[in-house]
Symmetry: C2
Subunit: 164 residues, 2 copies
């Protein structure tokens, strides 16, 4: 990220080590099985790369790192991203054109499922935090216009605790 700052960016709050990643992959496989969906190789590889990252990851970074040698073809990865998002395993961050693993398990809804979430996005270190969203006030605001909300994108840009 922009390094117009003197502090380091090693405060990887959500970084998972290899064991952590494998644990999350196992959960994901279980979820897919429970839903009658298939956790295929490209899907798992895509999720693995995103889990290994401590910040939202660009689709083309996944593409570039997909194979030990050489890149994947874009449709391979974009299809996997679409699937993972539908399963509620990852979220797309619209304002960054990037994808991040769902952190819902840190808030209790332990069985991932598609959901709207709010994100705190640090403009200095690039890390993101998923926070639970109070849809109520937005729904009420919308209802006042007769609008029926299906899905909410809420992304707050600013500075995380470590970067201020």
């Amino acid at each position: 990220m922009s390094t117009a700052c003197d502090h380091d960016h090693d405060h990887h709050d959500h970084h998972l080590d290899a064991h952590g990643v494998e644990a999350r992959l196992a959960e994901a496989r279980k979820l897919c099985e429970a839903q009658g969906e298939r956790m295929t190789a490209p899907r798992q590889r895509t999720l693995e790369l995103i889990l290994s990252q401590n910040a939202p990851m660009k689709a083309y970074d996944v593409i570039d790192r997909f194979h030990p040698d050489g890149a994947a073809k874009p449709p391979t990865v974009y299809r996997a991203l679409g699937f993972l998002e539908q399963m509620g395993l990852i979220h797309r961050i619209e304002s960054l054109n990037a994808f991040v693993a769902c952190q819902g398990h840190e808030h209790d809804h332990d069985h991932p499922e598609p959901h709207s979430a709010a994100f705190l996005l640090c403009e200095c270190c690039g890390q993101s935090e998923e926070v639970m969203l109070d849809l109520g006030s937005i729904d009420r605001k919308a209802a006042a216009s007769g609008f029926k909300v299906r899905r909410i994108t809420l992304e707050a840009k600013g500075l995380c605790k470590a970067c201020q």
Copy 2:
């Protein structure tokens, strides 16, 4: 927009006629003057096109319609869009890669200035409504993590009153 619906999409709540557009352009010129900024030809033309549209407009639609004959060059339009956004005259809709005129004047803050806003985006007819945002609850949520919010993107997708 997707026309998997039988109703028409002519409920143009925010559509401005030629006089309305000119009035808004005049306000914009006044605002720029007051701020010591210059409302140049490409900036005004870009704003005119966005005001004339009754829904968020893609950058490349502005580019295509910029000249009566032939298109503008992308940097011309992207620079104008950046300026207009900084002036608070338009908003970027992240989830659509599109731009819409600020409707703040319909809510009273009559002197446009850069601000976070919330949008209700109809997935059927494509129209958008800008609603005032209660930043409070988001700020509090962020503060609990020590996060300092600078700017908020809030986009609710769903169906407007006329499209349900």
